[in-house]
Assembly symmetry: none
Homo-oligomer: 199 residues x 4
């Protein structure tokens, strides 16, 4: 582990500066660095500077904390994706904007939270999974709408769903290897993914 207290870690834009927001920020960080199961509520309390018992004033259970981290992450990145889709009306440019937006979600400020969303999905209770899945579907719909336009123009030949999975895989996988401080910039990566997807 690197940081030992919440002061030392970068803010995540999804979470505000309230006690509750700080709690979620700390949770996202620890779940990201150590995994959900390996992070104890005692550790989390210590990390953000309260007693472990006090966590349960803000959230009903540990599972509830995880779900809220994920929920806020989805909400925020849904808004970001939507905004990206509306920035242009040319589907090729829209696609480029979606790719970049999603890469930023994963490699940028919300990266830790997105990693948690990906890695800890199965740690979530079944009911919470179902609820978040609905939000996830709205998110995916933005992608599918753009892809269908590209297909109508003959620029995408394959099944939209599968095509999205392949491109999404490339992007999501970056969570496992991309380092923002490395030599490859997000714009370059965006270009690479865009070329692969469309050429």
């Amino acid at each position: 582990m690197i940081a030992t207290s919440i002061e030392q870690i970068p803010k995540i834009v999804c979470f505000d500066d309230s006690p509750r927001g700080r709690l979620l920020l700390g949770a996202a960080y620890l779940f990201y660095k150590q995994g959900y199961d390996k992070t104890t509520v005692r550790q989390l309390g210590e990390f953000i500077g309260i007693q472990s018992g006090s966590l349960f004033h803000h959230f009903k259970s540990k599972d509830d904390i995880l779900a809220t981290v994920m929920e806020q992450t989805i909400i925020y990145n849904f808004a970001r994706l939507k905004e990206a889709a509306e920035r242009s009306s040319d589907p090729e440019q829209q696609l480029r904007d979606l790719i970049k937006a999603e890469l930023i979600s994963i490699t940028g400020d919300t990266g830790a939270a997105m990693a948690v969303l990906v890695h800890e999905w199965f740690a979530l209770s079944k009911e919470k999974q179902e609820y978040l899945l609905k939000m996830r579907n709205e998110y995916e719909q933005i992608w599918l709408d753009v892809i269908e336009k590209l297909r109508a123009q003959g620029k995408v030949k394959h099944d939209a769903f599968i095509w999205r999975r392949l491109v999404g895989g490339s992007i999501s996988w970056s969570v496992t290897w991309y380092r923002p401080e490395g030599k490859v910039k997000v714009d370059e990566l965006t270009e690479m993914v865009w070329e692969m997807a469309l050429k």
Copy 2:
């Protein structure tokens, strides 16, 4: 959960029919379905039909079981990849074979074990990670060798490492959505990935 005993689940080719192999098979299945942390040694014992205490005659620790599942999976799929690479000397065809081999690893007979390899990597102790990482690197080297040949021919323009990550992401991500019993066959998927990667 679906199966309640080891008789009901498909064999995985990595694991032989010895008591030890059955144990690994059961572990791979349960770790896949429930996650490593959520699977207790007692459950595992029950699943394969022995007392939980007896597991420790075969393996030093639960972590050791996970590491062995992963190790055998890597060894087996390394051999499969190597064989695929040697099937042709044309880099384009080699690439196609590698893609297909890796898709089979993930979606076919070793799918559950590969999913464990991907999802439970961080559940593994640091030392074991290091050890398996070396094997992983040998595996990756097969890919990189082929990509470098394609680059020499001008068919790949970008950095080999990053290019491999993007293609690998598309393939690995299929663990989250591909169903062998669905309508898309591995050969079609291979073709889609291959086109995306090379055109």
Copy 3:
């Protein structure tokens, strides 16, 4: 549980309509329905419509609430028993009146509070037990005085203390089975107990 707020439950005559009285009424109800240990101060606060922290402006501790419920119940039913004893000077009739008074305490308006007195006695701190035991003894003395008169007349043969225990057991036990809305009325039950005790 049946009621979810204090408005829905029958008043108990021991407790007045002040905030404090309402608190005791709610406590008696919840302690009766759920038991003392299973009732949390948060539940109690919610039930009577204040924050749990505010309870401690009225009572020093949860134990103190229980003790006060019991104390007021004893005081009230002591007065009722005394009044019953003074209604006649014939010991046989006095006995009948005592039996009826005690049955009313247990099955009537103070039933819930009496049930708490019986069932949660051991939940009470030792010091409070001691204090209430003194009041209990005064209550018992009323019974013993009447019984001694009956013994002097030869109508009771056995040891007064034990005889009272047996009769008291019959009466107290009604807390476990008697339902006021059932077909047996208190007067009939009084008669049955009286006959058993004296014939």
Copy 4:
């Protein structure tokens, strides 16, 4: 509290000498002396000389321990009551034997366990209550059969169910006051209850 370890307390005939039986014996004692809620699993472990975690090898939950104490107590005392009922064919004598048997259950070797059965009934989960209630009904049936015979002979005038409740109350209540080492012997008490019930 009096005893601090299981060696110092009297055996209860319901529970054998296995680890499991010792556990139940200790539980009965502590639940009796302190109440179920106030007895912690750690205390119980210490009392019988094992780690608190080890309790859960023998029983699924604390609730399960309580239920088992009660179940074995009911089974044992059911057998005792049955035997008592079969000792004579004269209903008056049968009644005397039932009274004595029940008094022995409550004041004798199984006294602590019977007290738990009475006092902690509501601490039990609803499902377990239901299950034990069925056994309780069989027990009560033995009483009702004898009472009906007495009614047929004109020796009991009132409703059998209520009559049993009154007599049962006298007997059960002895749990709150009777001390075997006191000057009143069970035979005397039996006679007193019998007279009260039948004369």
